[in-house]
Structures are given as C-alpha cells and as structure tokens.
C-alpha cells in the first residue's frame, strides 16, 4: 500500500463528487430534513424523538454511504476504469482506503450537520458528549462504505445495486431496536439482531443518549461496528480481481 496513491484516489473521488453538486446537496441535506420532520412528527412526545433521533443519527450515514459507495464502485467496475487501475501499480488496499477516506470525510460533514441540527435546534436531549455521537456516526459511515463496496461485486447494473439497499439495510433497520427494544423481539429475531452490526451502532448511540461518561457497553458497541467495517472492507477487497474471465 502507498499513502500517496491512497490520497490521490481519495482526492479523485472527491473531485468526481464536486462535479455533481446535486448529489452532495442531497447527501448533506436529506438527513437534516428527515430529523426536522421527525421532530414535529413526535411533537407531543419529545422522549420518543430523543430515542429515535439519536438512533437515526447513526443510521443515516450508514444508508447514505452504502448507496453512494455501491453505485460508485459499480460504475468503476462497469466503466472499465477498475480493470485499468488494477492493471496499473495500484494496490487494492489503496483503492479501498481511498474510497473509505473520501466518503468518510463526506460522512463527517453529514454527521456534523445532522448532529448539530438535532442537538442545538431540534432540542435532542443527549446526556453524553456530542463528540461520541460523531464518532459512532463516522464508524457507521465506514460500515456503510464497506457494505456498499462488498455488494457492488454482486450487482451487474445500477438497477440491481439499488435493490441491494432494501435487501441489506432494511432487515438491519427492522431488527436494530429502532422500532422496538431488541429484548422484546421473538427470541430468534433477537439472536439475529445480535449478529447484525447496525444493532450495535444504534445501541452505541443510545449509550451516549443516556450516560454522561463512556460506558463499557459503548466501548464494546464501537469496537463491534469498527471490527465489522474492517471485516467487510477486507471481504470487499477480495472481490476486486486483477484477472477476470
């Protein structure tokens, strides 16, 4: 791996995005609009907004980065630029780290905007530090990037890639504890939710919501999300083949 090549790749991905201001606007503003909507949907029960709002701060970056990365890598595969890059002296790790870095930066901006809006304008009541919220959001974004990269290998078209979103993300969304506490689900579903990374992302957010200090559970949640992201990134790297049939 070479840090110069990783940085060059990240700069290139961001440069591509800069030519697409509409996508950037959608990525940054849609989560804010959703939080705003949610705040007034739960106008009568601010406690519900606190729980769901905090969880969604972790879910938004995951979904956005999943979509963006799966389409971007799929385009890289179908346009022939991936084959060209792999025929050049570029490590697979350089490419993946470049993508993760570029989209990670974007995720920081997105999360900062959403967290700032929720905390200071919508009155989200969080006991812990906003920096910890931001940390979990960033790790979620990384996880989304990793999942997007991985599934793009199994999509033959952008049409299929978009269909992977409900297939990969929705089950996690239903089982992560956003709608009902995980320990109140059917035991089989609870067991499934225990092995899905988004459950830990949401748990981590809830730890920050309720505890002023860094708890052991929070550390575990963060480590699980980070570990899952790295594992899936490695799987994604394995789907990049220099030689193809």
């Amino acid at each position: 791996m070479s840090s110069a090549r990783t940085l060059a790749t990240a700069a290139r991905v961001l440069r591509q995005l800069r030519h697409d201001p509409r996508s950037i606007a959608l990525m940054l503003l849609v989560p804010c609009a959703m939080l705003f909507l949610l705040r007034y949907v739960f106008d009568g029960s601010p406690g519900t907004f606190d729980t769901i709002g905090a969880s969604l701060l972790g879910v938004f970056p995951l979904i956005t980065m999943f979509l963006v990365t799966s389409i971007a890598t799929l385009r890289e595969r179908t346009s022939g630029t991936l084959e060209r890059l792999l025929a050049l002296p570029l490590g697979k790790g350089d490419l993946i780290a470049g993508y993760a870095l570029a989209f990670g930066l974007l995720a920081v901006v997105q999360s900062a905007l959403a967290t700032g809006l929720a905390l200071w304008f919508l009155g989200l009541d969080v006991v812990g530090s906003p920096w910890l919220l931001l940390l979990v959001a960033l790790l979620d974004a990384l996880l989304g990037t990793a999942l997007g990269l991985f599934v793009s290998a199994f999509a033959a078209s952008e049409f299929q890639a978009v269909q992977f979103m409900p297939a990969v993300i929705f089950p996690q969304l239903l089982l992560c504890g956003l709608f009902t506490p995980r320990d109140r689900m059917a035991p089989a579903l609870e067991a499934v939710s225990n092995v899905l990374p988004m459950s830990y992302a949401v748990d981590g957010m809830n730890e920050v919501l309720r505890h002023p200090e860094v708890t052991g559970a929070f550390v575990r949640d963060v480590l699980v999300v980070a570990g899952s992201a790295l594992l899936v990134l490695a799987l994604g790297a394995a789907t990049l083949r220099r030689r193809t049939a």
Partner: protein, 296 residues
C-alpha cells in the same frame, strides 16, 4: 484457393528464402529484432469455451504489430492475456522478458480497452492527473506528472478540450482520452484494442501517424487490434486470427505476395477460405464456435 488447400501449414511458415533479400529491407521482424512478446501454446478458456487454441507467435520490439481478425475471434482475450487481466490462461506467455501478469510489468504496459475507460465526471486533465498519480505517486514528482499529462494531452490532440468533462466529449474524443491515459508513463509496450473504431478518416490517419511516431521516437512496441483491413497496411507486421487460432504471422507485403493478392484484405479472405476448406474436408477438426465473443 485450391493451390492452398494442398498446403495445410504453409501459410504460417517463414517467408520464402527467395523473397528474403527483398523482404530484408521491409521486414522489420527479422531475427535481429528482439521479441517483446513470445507466446507458446497459449490457451485461454472463458466459461466452457476455449477462446484461444494453442497460439504460437512473437511480437517484435519497437514495431507496430497489427492483430486482425473478425469480431469474436479472440483478439480482445489475447490482449487481456498479454496485459495480465485475463483469467484461465494456459501455455507460455512472456511479455518484456517476464511472465504475463507479473506485477513488475504493470507500470511498463499501457492498455487501452475497446470501450474508453475514463471517468466521465472528471475533466480530461483531472483524469490524466489521477492516473499519473497512480503511476508516479508523491508530491516530489508533481512537476514530472504535470509534464507527462501535458504531453499526453498534446499527443492525442486534445489540448483545447483539456478542461472539458470527459462525459461531454464526443465518442472519438473520449477514446483519445483513454489512449492518452495509456501514454502517460511512457510504457514500453502499448496494447490498443480497436483504437480507431468509430473515428473519422482524418482522425484515424492522425492516430496512425501518432502510433508510428511513438514506435520510431520512443522505441515503444505497439500491438494494435482492428478489424478494418486497410489499417493492416499501416502495420510493420501482422497477426491474422480466426476462431482462436493464428492464421498467419508476417509483414503485410509478404502476406500480399505469398497469396498473390493486391491487398491484405484479400490475402486474409484467401487464408480464411483456405482454412475453412481444410476444416470442411476434415470434419473432426471443425470447431463449433459461437459467433460472438462475450465482452469482458
């Protein structure tokens, strides 16, 4: 056709000795030129289909070798084998003194796929700057990179469009951006898959002039595929392919002379008919091959 059906392997033999003195001046691929690519019993399998059927050939260094044949005959698969992007390749394939696909070859080969592979949402210059940074990373080399990018843009005559988005360019211009990317690192071997498809005659002439300049000035070896036979006349040497086999390997002039035809196109048709006639007489050797080769 009949006088060739008696001679099954003659088409692939070395040029006749009687022609040798004449050919010496025009044939650049004599034994004195080292080989850039050597293939022995080269095979490639895609799915259940054998696309390359035991090829033996050499590509001389510093020359333009044309790879010609009908679409679906295995040209792209052969080029992908040479650039190390094709899976399931058998036999021996030596490229610039190393086995094909060796990581050390990556910076030494420029490969241009048939469909332009550039980022449509970057400008011409941004595209080239990124690929240049992959080839020669680091801040210390940024002046070198800028010079390489400027030269590559000028090579393909796109200086006036350097700051346009690649996606806004015409098809021919985009394929020239793709070619410019391959020229960046001044590679020793350029593998170009149908680089002139869909271009107007003026542009085609200009590109062939560029190919000749690159070979003459930089000593670069070029392997250029085409199914337009008039381009064959512009190559130093030709590999004629049909259904995954090499039909002939020679200079355009020798091919015309040996088949007694005024153009390479007719020589090629002559050889194809002769091969088909041989297969017709020996049904056991006929290949039931599909017409279309799947795109990679």
């Amino acid at each position: 056709m009949m006088n060739y059906s008696a001679d099954g392997s003659g088409d692939r033999s070395e040029a006749d000795d009687t022609e040798a003195d004449d050919l010496e001046a025009t044939d650049p691929a004599t034994a004195t030129t080292p080989a850039a690519i050597t293939a022995r019993s080269l095979t490639a399998v895609r799915g259940a289909r054998t696309v390359l059927r035991g090829l033996d050939f050499t590509v001389p260094a510093g020359r333009i070798t044309g790879l010609l044949g009908p679409s679906g005959c295995g040209k792209t698969t052969l080029m992908r084998a040479i650039t190390g992007t094709q899976a399931k390749v058998g036999g021996t394939l030596t490229v610039l003194g190393r086995p094909a696909g060796d990581p050390a070859l990556r910076p030494r080969i420029g490969y241009v796929t048939q469909a332009p592979s550039v980022y449509d949402d970057l400008t011409v210059r941004q595209n080239l700057a990124y690929f240049a940074a992959v080839l020669l990373p680091g801040r210390a080399h940024r002046h070198e990179r800028r010079a390489a990018v400027d030269r590559a843009v000028a090579d393909v005559d796109l200086t006036s469009r350097a700051d346009s988005l690649a996606g806004r360019l015409s098809g021919g211009q985009r394929s020239r951006v793709s070619l410019a990317v391959a020229l960046l690192g001044a590679p020793e071997l350029l593998v170009l898959d149908e680089p002139t498809v869909g271009l107007d005659p003026v542009l085609r002439r200009d590109l062939w002039d560029l190919f000749h300049r690159i070979a003459a000035d930089r000593g670069t070896t070029l392997l250029v595929s085409s199914h337009v036979m008039d381009e064959a006349e512009r190559c130093h040497r030709l590999l004629l392919m049909r259904e995954g086999e090499i039909l002939a390997e020679d200079t355009p002039e020798a091919l015309r002379r040996r088949n007694d035809t005024p153009t390479v196109e007719e020589a090629f048709l002559h050889l194809v008919d002769a091969a088909a006639a041989r297969e017709g007489r020996r049904p056991g050797t006929a290949h039931n091959q599909q017409d279309q080769e799947p795109r990679p």
